[in-house]
C-alpha cells in the first residue's frame, strides 16, 4: 500500500509518523502471503501446493468467498462441496464499494475468491491484488461466449471471469407512460405527465451514464468539460426526479409510485416477475446506446488455496450451474450453453434475457476511472449535494 518514502527529508514532525507507517507496512508487505503467518483459512494439506509438485494435487481444504447475499443459487455451494470435498465459507458483502474498501484496508488479504463488478475488478488488479488466471486450470472457460473475451476492462479474462452481465436501460409501466420510451431523453427531459414519476440510479457510474450517452460521450469519460456538460443536463433532470434509487425502483414501478425508471435489466425483471402488474412492465435499451455491466469472479493473489479457488470458478462455469444462476437472479450469464438450458417460458416472460452476446457487446464495458475518479466524485457531488 505504501511505497518507501521518496522524500523523507521534510524535516517535519510528520515525517516520523510516516516512517513508522512505512516501516510497519514494509514489515508486512515484504513478508508476503507465502511467509506471513496463516492469515487465510489454510489447512496443512494445502500449504504444500506452493511447492509445485510434478502432478498437481487434487484441490481440497477450504476457501473463503465474498459475494452479495442471494447471489448464489440455493444449493450450489452444498453441491460443490459434496462433489469436490472443498469447503466454501461464503461471506457476504453489501456493495462493490464496501468490499473494495475492505480489501484496500486489509491490503488485499482475507479472501480467496471475490465477486465484484468489472470496473472494480480492474481497480483491484491495478492495485496488484489479483491473481493472473491460469486458463489451463479452468477447463470450462471454453463455455464462455467469445464476446466475453473481448471486454475492455480485461480482454482475454486475464484476472477476472464474468459471472453475469447485462445492460442498463429504461424500465417502465406500459399503462402509465404516455408513449413507450426509446431514448435516454425520455428520462432526462420527461414530459409533464412523468414529472416526479421517474427515478435514476444512485451509484455514480450509472447516474452519469444517460447524460453521457445522450451527448455521445463515453461511459468512462474523463474530460472535465464533457463531464460538466453531462452535469448540466442532470441538474435539470434532478428537478423532475422522484429519487435517485438503487434498490427499490422496481417496487416503485409495481406500486405505481413511479412510471419510468433507469434500471439494470435484471432488476427490471424483478418488476416483471410481479404477478399483478408484471405484464405491464417493459424494458428497453435507449437508442443512444448504453453500458455493458459485468459482475466478475476474481482470485486474490493472497489466496492461500488457489487450486480450490480455481475449482470453484470452474464449477460455476458449467452450463447446468450457470442455468441455476439465471433462474435465481434473472440476469444473463455469459455462457451460451447455460442460457440454452433456461426454461423457454422464463425466456418468454423476461424478454431481455434473450439479448445475444453480440448485442450486449454494442454496449460499452465500464472501466476503472483511474486518475479521473476524484473529478467524477466532485462532479457527482455537484449534482447530488443538498442545500
Amino acid at each position: 500500500m505504501l511505497t518507501p518514502p521518496q522524500a523523507a527529508s521534510h524535516g517535519r514532525r510528520l515525517a516520523a509518523t510516516f516512517a513508522a507507517v512505512a516501516l510497519l507496512a514494509a514489515a508486512c508487505s515484504t513478508g508476503g502471503p507465502s511467509t506471513a503467518p496463516t492469515t487465510g483459512p489454510t489447512t496443512a494439506a494445502t500449504t504444500g501446493a506452493t511447492a509445485t509438485p510434478t502432478e498437481p494435487p487434487k484441490p481440497s481444504g477450504k476457501i473463503v468467498v465474498s459475494n452479495w447475499d442471494l447471489y448464489f443459487p440455493e444449493d450450489m455451494i452444498a453441491n460443490f462441496t459434496a462433489e469436490t470435498g472443498i469447503e466454501v465459507e461464503w461471506v457476504k458483502h453489501t456493495t462493490n464499494e464496501d468490499i473494495v474498501g475492505k480489501l484496500e484496508a486489509a491490503n488485499g488479504t482475507g479472501y480467496d475468491v471475490v465477486f465484484v463488478s468489472a470496473q472494480f475488478a480492474e481497480a483491484l488488479n491495478n492495485r496488484g491484488w489479483l491473481e493472473t488466471l491460469d486458463h489451463s486450470a479452468l477447463q470450462n472457460v471454453g463455455n464462455l461466449a467469445p464476446e466475453a473475451d473481448q471486454l475492455g476492462y480485461d480482454p482475454g479474462n486475464t484476472f477476472s471471469v464474468p459471472y453475469t452481465w447485462g445492460t442498463t436501460g429504461l424500465c417502465y409501466r406500459t399503462d402509465l407512460v404516455p408513449a413507450a420510451p426509446t431514448s435516454w431523453n425520455d428520462l432526462l427531459k420527461p414530459v409533464a405527465a412523468l414529472d416526479k414519476k421517474i427515478t435514476m440510479l444512485a451509484t455514480d457510474r450509472w447516474l452519469m451514464l444517460p447524460a453521457l450517452k445522450v451527448l455521445g460521450y463515453s461511459a468512462n469519460e474523463t474530460d472535465q468539460g464533457h463531464l460538466e456538460e453531462a452535469r448540466d443536463i442532470l441538474l435539470e433532470t434532478k428537478t423532475h426526479l422522484l429519487a435517485y434509487d438503487d434498490t427499490t425502483f422496481y417496487s416503485r414501478l409495481v406500486s405505481g409510485e413511479a412510471s419510468l425508471v433507469q434500471a439494470w435489466d435484471g432488476w427490471c425483471n424483478y418488476g416483471i416477475a410481479d404477478e399483478a402488474v408484471g405484464s405491464k412492465i417493459a424494458y428497453v435499451v435507449p437508442s443512444e446506446g448504453t453500458d455493458l455491466w459485468a459482475d466478475t469472479m476474481t482470485v486474490l493473489k493472497a489466496s492461500t488455496n488457489k487450486p480450490a479457488a480455481y475449482a470453484f470458478i470452474d464449477y460455476i462455469l458449467r452450463p447446468e450451474v450457470g442455468k441455476t444462476v439465471v433462474d435465481l437472479t434473472l440476469y444473463k450469464v455469459p455462457n451460451p450453453a447455460a442460457m440454452d438450458l433456461v426454461d423457454p417460458a422464463v425466456m418468454a416472460q423476461f424478454t431481455n434475457l434473450a439479448m445475444s452476446p453480440a448485442e450486449l457487446l454494442k454496449g460499452e464495458p465500464l472501466r476503472d476511472l483511474g486518475a479521473a475518479a476524484p473529478l467524477w466524485s466532485n462532479i457527482v457531488t455537484q449534482i447530488t449535494a443538498g442545500g
Binding site: M1, L2, T3, P4, P5, Q6, A7, H10, R12, L14, T17, F18, V21, A22, T95, E97, D98, V100, G101, E104, A123, N126, R127, K196, A202, T203, D204, K238, L241, L242, A243, Y244, D245, T248, R252, S255, G256, E257, D368, G370, A371, A373, P374, W376, S377, N378, V380, T381, Q382, T384, A385, G386, G387
Partner: protein, 282 residues
C-alpha cells in the same frame, strides 16, 4: 490519589490510546499524502487536499448538513425532554421497563425500520392512502424524498439518544427540591425553569450532542428517505473513501469535520466546566 486516578482513568484511556488514537491518527495523516492513480496512498507530501477542500461546494454541503442536523436535534429535544421527564417521575418499578420500551424498536435494524418508513410515507403509501380514504386530502402529500423525510428519519433514528441522558439527569433530581420550590409558592412552570431545567442541563447537553453528531454524519437516511437528492457531509466522506477510493481527500474532509466539531465541543466542555467551578466555589 495518583493510584485512584490510574484505576479510574487508566483502563479507558489506555484502550483509546491503542484502538483510537493510533489507528485514526495514521489514517488522518493521509491528508498530507497523494492518491495513487488507481487508489491507495502515495507518501508524497502535499497540501493539495486542503486546497481542494476549500471548494465552496463542500462548504455548501456542510452548511446544509449542519442545518438539517440542528433541526433534527431541536425536534428531538422538544419531544424527548417531556418523555424523559415523565419516565423519570414514574413509580420506580416502572422506570426501567418504560425506558427499555423506548429503545426496543432499535433492536431490529436501522435498515429495516428505514424501509418501513418508505412503506409508510411514499405517495402510494399507508399514510397517504389512509388520509385519502377518510377524505382529508385529494392529492397525495409529498412526505418522502425531501428534507422533511430526512429530518423525520434522523429524529426517529436518534430519539432514544436524547431521552436516555435526559432521563439519567432528571432521575437524579431530588423530588423534595421541587416540592420545596412549590411550597415556597413557585408555580410549576417557574419551578421547572428555575430548578429542574438548570439541574438537567448536563443531560440536555449530552442528549443534544448524541443526536447532533451522528445526524451530521448520517448517510443512510439522506440516501433512502431523502431519495439521494440531498446528500450530506456523511455521504460526501463515505463516497471519498469508497466510491472515489480517494483516501487522502476523505481523510482531509474528516479532519476538517473532526476539527470543527472538536472546537465546538471544547467550547461546550469549557463552559460547563466554568459553570461547575462557579457552583462549587459559591
Amino acid at each position: 490519589m495518583r493510584l485512584r486516578r490510574l484505576i479510574l482513568l487508566g483502563p479507558a484511556l489506555a484502550w483509546w490510546a491503542v484502538f483510537l488514537v493510533v489507528p485514526v491518527a495514521l489514517i488522518l495523516a493521509y491528508s498530507f499524502f497523494e492518491r495513487g492513480t488507481h487508489g491507495g496512498v502515495v507518501p508524497t507530501f502535499t497540501l493539495d487536499n486542503f486546497a481542494r477542500a476549500l471548494d465552496p461546494l463542500y462548504l455548501r454541503v456542510l452548511v446544509f448538513s449542519v442545518r438539517v442536523a440542528l433541526i433534527a436535534t431541536i425536534v428531538a429535544l422538544l419531544i424527548g425532554y417531556p418523555a424523559a421527564y415523565l419516565i423519570a417521575t414514574l413509580p420506580a418499578r416502572w422506570r426501567t421497563p418504560v425506558l427499555v420500551l423506548t429503545v426496543l424498536p432499535f433492536w431490529t435494524s436501522l435498515l429495516i425500520r428505514t424501509y418501513a418508513w418508505i412503506v409508510l410515507l411514499n405517495r402510494e403509501g399507508l399514510i397517504n392512502r389512509g388520509l385519502e380514504g377518510v377524505g382529508l386530502i385529494d392529492q397525495p402529500l409529498e412526505l418522502l424524498n425531501n428534507e422533511f423525510a430526512i429530518v423525520l428519519g434522523l429524529v426517529y433514528g436518534y430519539l432514544p439518544l436524547m431521552i436516555l441522558p435526559i432521563y439519567a439527569s432528571i432521575e437524579r433530581l431530588n423530588p423534595e427540591l421541587r416540592e420545596a420550590s412549590a411550597d415556597l409558592g413557585g408555580n410549576p412552570i417557574r419551578t421547572f425553569l428555575r430548578v429542574t431545567l438548570p439541574l438537567t442541563l448536563p443531560g440536555v447537553a449530552a442528549g443534544c450532542i448524541f443526536v447532533f453528531v451522528p445526524s451530521l454524519g448520517n448517510f443512510i437516511v439522506p440516501d433512502l428517505l431523502g431519495g439521494g437528492l440531498s446528500s450530506m457531509i456523511g455521504n460526501l466522506i463515505q463516497s471519498q473513501f469508497l466510491r472515489a477510493r480517494d483516501w487522502p481527500f476523505g481523510a482531509t474532509l474528516s479532519l476538517a469535520l473532526i476539527g470543527l466539531m472538536g472546537a465546538l465541543l471544547f467550547l461546550q466542555a469549557w463552559l460547563l466546566g466554568r459553570q461547575r467551578r462557579e457552583v462549587l466555589d459559591g
